[in-house]
Structure formats: structure tokens, C-alpha cells
Symmetry: C2
Subunit: 492 residues, 2 copies
């Protein structure tokens, strides 16, 4: 606690903010609402990107790149989508600065360089991509079109939070086009499975797969599928969405294809995305009062070796052992840092690597040299063990799997403990206030009821889970008939 992190139990929100900064993940920039992703934070994001990118390619998608700017008239074409994002658009109106005649050394916007058509900085790329697809798609032979883009997007937010809600963020957006509704729906669901698989296998984050209610749907979609994760403070976080767009964008941009029979039809679309928000989910789901807990599969440094020494001779002896162990581990594709700096103490280093969430720490001191041992500490449980040097590499290799699984199991247990079925509105409110978490409750299916519950409790329907159980019941709010329980929570 050298770095003085607030405790989660005292101020979860402040704990998160401080952790993100102190662990060198990100910070606020001098640009309102925009963050700087620092090298350590970015290296975790790179690992996420690499894993996701491989999964996209393995399912047949290719990457491409589309313009940052969307001319206003294109942006307007799909009305619901435009309406949904209009209030948070950064708009480029001029293309030149000039010297301020009244103020030497200062620049002003050149009024003579005003754009005829303003450009929206993309908040999402459906408009610019579907206007391009119009030229790429003529016949069924051009379909399916399976494209992904890694990009920055901008949504002007008044209240920002590092990783969770920032004016500019990084993401990937998949945009696919299909010749049938069934194929597009299957794609939408496939990508939801890819996201869930990624969250669970790489982020060690259990997620609930489901469909959004109408009022939480992506602007311009027919259906929005999502994965929802539970954070340690009992709030939900939407970790990824996959949208079935129907023929909405095809109609807005006049994208038709000739089928095998020669008949023209509008194309069916999907889009799906995850963003640097996943960084927020990763941090909030697993970390503790000492700092980050990163699952081994996403940890930039998987094992750190810290020598405990006095004087150069001892350091030399320890270094020899450490380097050998490092080489052995690297041969097993484990990333290792040997921190032999003499400018900070072992204790300081221990705290630092705890803060940074390095899964395994190895300490080697003079007594270890004598005994042929090393001390191994795991970050997730803080358990320490002295084991023979000869077994260290294999032990650490096993730990990579064990820690990954344990972090997942811990998060899953937490979610199980914090998912509550309720049968009345009173119980619903009591659980939300006293326990939080996911709350399963009957709902009459109307946006009106959903809105009232949101107003009164700040809880929203996170999703109608894919494993929804049909069950006759009464809406907790209206008392009207309901066909099964849906998942509510307060959310990020």
C-alpha cells in the first residue's frame, strides 16, 4: 500500500480512479474528456486486440479502414441512427487556421476556410461504411461481406471516466452484409459468442449473454445482443454488443443485390463492437486494495523475479540463477522481467508489482541460494510458497493456468452470490439498495414500466438472457402478466 490506494469498501469509485492512474494505465489529458492510454495500460489493450483480432480472422473477417469523418448529409441518412448520436457529435466546420492579426503568435480559425458540408467525427461508422458498401455489392456473389475496423471514435460526453466513458475511445467495429435475414442473424449471434468466449477465456470474466429491451437497443438496429458483466461493487457493465441491423442501413443507403434468380433485394446487415471500456471491466472485476489483478493471458509481464541482495557479489550470484530461470520460462512463452535495479528496495518492488497486477512474483535471496530454493508468490491469492529451484519453472507454468482459472472462478462465484431472484417490487428495491448485483424479476414487457422502474430505482434491464426460462408470473411493477424473469441492475 506504499502507493496509498483507497480501499474498495470505503470508496469504490475513488479506488478505481486512483488505481487506473497509479498503476500507469491511463490518465486524463489536457483535452476535455479525452484520455491518454499509458504504455502499461496500452500493452494490456494490445493483448486484448491480438486475441480478438485472431478470433475475428478465424471466423472469416478481414480488416479494412474507413474515413474518420462523416459528411453531415450521409450521417443523416439512417434517421434513427442519426438521432441517436446527433447530441454527442464533434463537428469539423473549418479546414484552416491563420495568424491572429490582433495577437502575435496566436492562431484563429480562418473564416474563409469554412466547409460547405460540415463533417461529423465518426461516433460509429455505419453511415460511412454502408455508403461504401453500395458500390461494393451488386450480386449475391459479393456476399457475405465480412469486415472489421480497429479505430478511434468520438462521442461527446459531459461526464467522463477513464476507460468507462470518454469522449474519444478506441474500439473495433465489425460491419457485415448478407444475402438473407437468417444468415445475418446467425452472424450477429456468432459474434456475441466470440465476445463471450473472449471475455471468459482471456479476461477471466463471466458474462451473461442476452438481448436488449427495445429502449436499450442500438439506434438503427432491429435487435441488440449484449454481454453483461458484474463488477465488484454490484454494478453491471455492458462489455460488448452485437447488432442485427435488418435492412435498415441497406434501405437508407440503397444497397441492393441481385439474387441467383436475378431478383433485386435489400442487403441484410450486422454490426458489433467492443472498446477500451473492456479495460475498465477488467480492472473493476478482479483487482483488490493492493492494486491490479490481471489474468495471466492478458498480463504484459507474467512473472517478475526480484533479487534480495546486499552488495554486488550477492547480486551476481542471484542473477545467475535468475537468468537461468528466466530463460527456462521464456522457452515456455512466459513473459518474464528480472528487476535487478539497485535504486529501490525489494519491499518497494513487491508493492509495485502487486499494484501492477503481475500474476507471479519470484523472490530469490541469499538463503535461497544456500538451500537451492525460491519463494513464489501468486498475485490472486497472495499465497507464498518456498519451493526447490529445480521445480520452479514447472510450478510457475502450472500457476499460469491455475491463476487464470481461479480468477475466473472467483468472479463467477461472486456473480452467483450476487444474482438474486425477486418476486415483488419491495424486495426488488431492497436488494438493489442493500446488496446490489443482478436482480432477476418479472417484467410486463412494456417500455413504460421499464422507464418507471429506471426513474424510481436507477436500475435498467440489462438484458433478456439467452437462457431465459419461460415461467408464468406477474410484473413486479404493474402486476400484469409476464412470461419470465429478465435481468435488472444498476449499471456503468
Amino acid at each position: 500500500m506504499a502507493k496509498g490506494l483507497p480501499k474498495r469498501s470505503e470508496d469504490y469509485s475513488q479506488w478505481y480512479n486512483e488505481l487506473v492512474k497509479k498503476a500507469d494505465l491511463a490518465e486524463h489529458s489536457s483535452v476535455r474528456g479525452c484520455m491518454v492510454i499509458k504504455p502499461y495500460g496500452f500493452s494490456i489493450w494490445e493483448k486484448m486486440q491480438a486475441a480478438l483480432d485472431k478470433m475475428f480472422k478465424d471466423t472469416g473477417h478481414s480488416n479494412a479502414y474507413f474515413p474518420l469523418f462523416v459528411p453531415k448529409n450521409l450521417f443523416e441518412a439512417e434517421e434513427k441512427n442519426a438521432e441517436g448520436f446527433a447530441k454527442e457529435c464533434a463537428v469539423v466546420t473549418h479546414y484552416r487556421l491563420k495568424n491572429d492579426p490582433d495577437n502575435k503568435g496566436k492562431l484563429i480559425v480562418d473564416p474563409e476556410a469554412k466547409l460547405e458540408e460540415e463533417l461529423v467525427v465518426r461516433p460509429t461508422s455505419e453511415a460511412v461504411i454502408w455508403s461504401t458498401y453500395k458500390n461494393w455489392i451488386q450480386s449475391y456473389r459479393d456476399l457475405p461481406l465480412l469486415i472489421n475496423q480497429w479505430a478511434n471514435v468520438v462521442r461527446w460526453e459531459m461526464r467522463t471516466r477513464l476507460f468507462l466513458r470518454t469522449a474519444e475511445f478506441l474500439w473495433q467495429e465489425g460491419h457485415t452484409a448478407h444475402s438473407s435475414k437468417a444468415e445475418a442473424v446467425a452472424e450477429t449471434k456468432q459474434m456475441l459468442e466470440v465476445y463471450a468466449d473472449f471475455a471468459e477465456r482471456f479476461m477471466a470474466l463471466p458474462v451473461v449473454k442476452g438481448v436488449k429491451s427495445e429502449s436499450e437497443r442500438f439506434a438503427g438496429a432491429e435487435d441488440t445482443y449484449c454481454i453483461e458483466a458484474l463488477m465488484q461493487d454490484g454494478k453491471a457493465l455492458q462489455a460488448g454488443t452485437s447488432h442485427f441491423l435488418g435492412q435498415n442501413f441497406a434501405k437508407a443507403f440503397d444497397v441492393k443485390f441481385a439474387g441467383k434468380d436475378g431478383k433485386e433485394e435489400y442487403v441484410w446487415g450486422t454490426s458489433w463492437g467492443v472498446s477500451t471500456r473492456l479495460m475498465g471491466a477488467l480492472i473493476m472485476a478482479h483487482s483488490d486494495d493492493e492494486g491490479l489483478v490481471i489474468p495471466p493471458k492478458l498480463a504484459p509481464i507474467q512473472t517478475v523475479i526480484v533479487p534480495i541482495f546486499k552488495g554486488e557479489e550477492q547480486l551476481n550470484q542471484i542473477s545467475e540463477v535468475a537468468q537461468k530461470l528466466k530463460t527456462e520460462l521464456q522457452a515456455d512463452d512466459i513473459s518474464v522481467k528480472f528487476d535487478d535495479r539497485d535504486t529501490s528496495s525489494p519491499g518497494w518492488k513487491f508493492a509495485e508489482y502487486e499494484l501492477k497486477g503481475v500474476p507471479v512474483r519470484v523472490a530469490i535471496g541469499p538463503r535461497d541460494l544456500e538451500n537451492g530454493t525460491v519463494e513464489i508468490a501468486r498475485r490472486d491469492t497472495k499465497e507464498k510458497k518456498v519451493i526447490p529451484l529445480s521445480e520452479a519453472a514447472q510450478h510457475i507454468k502450472n500457476l499460469m493456468t491455475e491463476i487464470q482459472e481461479n480468477i475466473y472462478k472467483r468472479a463467477l462465484d461472486f456473480r452467483t452470490d450476487n444474482t438474486t431472484e425477486v418476486d415483488s417490487y419491495a424486495e426488488f428495491k431492497k436488494v438493489l439498495d442493500e446488496k446490489a448485483g443482478f436482480v432477476m424479476a418479472h417484467w410486463d414487457g412494456t417500455p413504460e414500466t421499464e422507464e418507471k422502474i429506471k426513474e424510481e430505482t436507477k436500475a435498467t434491464i440489462r438484458c433478456i438472457p439467452l437462457d431465459f426460462k419461460e415461467e408464468e408470473g406477474k410484473c413486479i411493477y404493474s402486476g400484469n402478466p409476464s412470461k419470465g424473469k429478465v435481468m435488472f441492475a444498476r449499471a456503468y
Copy 2:
């Protein structure tokens, strides 16, 4: 020539434009000056990125991410830099659209959502990064800071050309900070070497390393190093730059560090970048009238197998052989496509993969089945050879190296043939008009002479080569003394 590409000798510029579009590399978008990088083009860029990223990491750099927007007052801080880019800045002035009251379904910029401080869309990130470094650097222990960013940037261009000059482009920009001038200069030169190495080993593109004259320097730099490549039409293309920034940005943003002796000093900086412009260089350096010629190390598909068949039974027999060969090649990390579509003819496929620059094409027909052979064609020389199937995998593996080397050698020979030393201005102009290429000539070292030569001939000093030979002479233009020949050319 199924696709009807113009000949290089007839209209090089049109040949380039058509090739970029027909080979599915990129196209103009509906956004003025912005391009769409299509999946095939993007997959080449991804290969470039992966190779460069590894080289940056191997030299100790980490990736990070900084905001897209630069507040105008930050942008102004380094005056030369601001001046250099002010005329081509996209400027965000508003953060919201609203419904047009006079025009249902249309949106207008909301005049009430005007930003107090306008935001410049980054044309380069020195300003935003050095304003951040101010908080990251206090002491010599924080240095060196070795950071790279992969990002999009915007420079408003009136005349654009796919890959070569676009309003938005993709690039990487390295930004490093050091405690001494010597270290910063060494970094600048190291990154130039990295770029040259990448160009030569991966792009098969010989480059001349050198220093820019004062008037071609990056705005805000003390020295700009560059690599210059020669295109087939005899024009030069600047393929990468590495800038020694001195203490200019440190002073502009007040970035100081306390040395070991406790004394405060301004930090020394560098920045360096390459962009999607490299795609243009790759295409123009190697390709021919039939289409792209891609060096194997950057080819998304390294080998294509085309079956020549009549009917399903023949296809099945050929497929068996092809799949086995494919598996063998993949085991050697060669990417292979087996194109067994029956919707297009072998001849159409041959032309298509020539256009796409696939380095090796294997054709397998019924006679090959009988004889136990395959026909192998290389894209660079168009040489065809029938060889025993049993030797095919090894032969193709060897071809990967041979083709890579041959493409490089061909470009190097071309450059040698098209580098001319001249001793008079008359000769200089004659060579430029009749032969083009790199022209080595004495120059008196003044910006005035440089400017005059540029006005009269459109040739610029590409660089003073690092292997500059000291040699007494007279400036071809002014007749004043010169210490050696510098490299001129007309350039992209």
C-alpha cells in the same frame, strides 16, 4: 490484362491510380480527400505494421495512445510547428447537432454547442504529447522515454492521391525524450536505420539515407533525417523521416528534468514516422503493366494454387494433390490459397492473381496428375517451370527468398542506372527532363539557390546523403564553392 490496366510507359500516373483501385487496395471515399483502405490493401499494411512494431519494440519502445484532438492553445505553443501545419488543419468548433426546424429529418450544427476553445484534429502529435511529457518527466530517472503511437492523422490537402497524399492517413509516430543531446541524436539516427532496414528487407526497396536541407526540415525540428526511394517513373519518394527536435518542444512545453547533480535542464527530443504512404512506394517501385508485384515478406497470399479441370472428378483428384501441397507449404509458414472456384476460368484466375501480385502461382492440370508434376510461375520474372510434385514445396520455399532478393536487386539496379552525377546546370536540366532519377550535383548550401532551382526545374534537394563525399566543387547554379554533391530529384 483482362482488367485493362494502362501501360506504365504511356501514362504512369493513370497506371498507378487504376492499379490501386483494380487490385482492391484502396479507393476514394465520399469524404473529400479521405480514402477507404480495402481489405486486400489493408492486409499488406498490417504486415508492414507487424514488422515495424516488432522492430520498434526490439529497440526498447512501447506503444501508447494520445488524444485525436489538440486544443488550439496547445497547438500554438511550438510556434514553428504550429505555423507549419496551421494551413492544413481540420478544426472542430461544435460538439452537437440538432434537428433542423425548417427541414424535417435534417440536422444542423447546434449554435449553442460552440466550443470555447477550438480543437485541431491532430496533423501530428508533438504538441499533445509534449504537454503530457511535462507531467511524466521530473528527473533523469524518468528518461529516456521511448514511446510510439499508431494513429490516424489529418492534414487538409487540396490535391489528393490514394496512399500518397490524403487528408486522413494512418501512420506511426515515435516520440522520445532524452537527458542529453548525444543520446537524442543517436536515437534519431537509430530510427532512421530501422526504417532503412525495414524498407530494404521487407519492402525490397533500396533507400538513400540522408539529412534534409534546412528548407525541407520538419517544422519544429533541428534536423530531419530521411530515407528516399526512387520510383519507376524516375521520381523520388520520401519514405520515412526521423527528426532531432533539440530542446524546441521541451522549451515550448516547459519540460525539464533534474540531472544526477540536481541541476535542472530542458529535455532533448526526437520524433519519427512512416505512414500509409509506404503503400504507394511499394506499389510504384515494383509493379508492372500486369499489376502488383509484392515482395513475399509482405504478400498476404504468398502462393496461390489454381486447378485446371473439367468436371468434378478431375477437380477432386487435383484437390487431393493441391491440399497436400498446401499443408506442406503452410508447415513452412507460407500462406497459401487454393482457388477451386468453378465460377471463373483458370485464365481469369491467372490474370487476377497477377493483378494482385501473388509471388508464386502453381497450376495443376490433368497432365500434371499423369506425370506427377506441377507448373510453377513466379510473378516477378513471369518465368514458368514444370517440376516434379515431390520437389514443389522445397522449390516454392526457395522461391520466397529468391523473389524477395530479385525484386530488391531489380530496384537497386534501376536506381543505380538512374542516379546521375552532373557538373553543370545545363546537364542537370537535361538529365531531369530526359532521364529523371536521382541527380547528384554541387550546391552552395544556401536556401536561395535551392529555391531558385526548385522554381526553375521542380527538382528539390531530396537529401544530403549520409555517405556524402567531401569533394571541392562549384555550385551548378551559383558557381559558388561547394563541399560535395547533394541529391536532387523531382519528387512525390
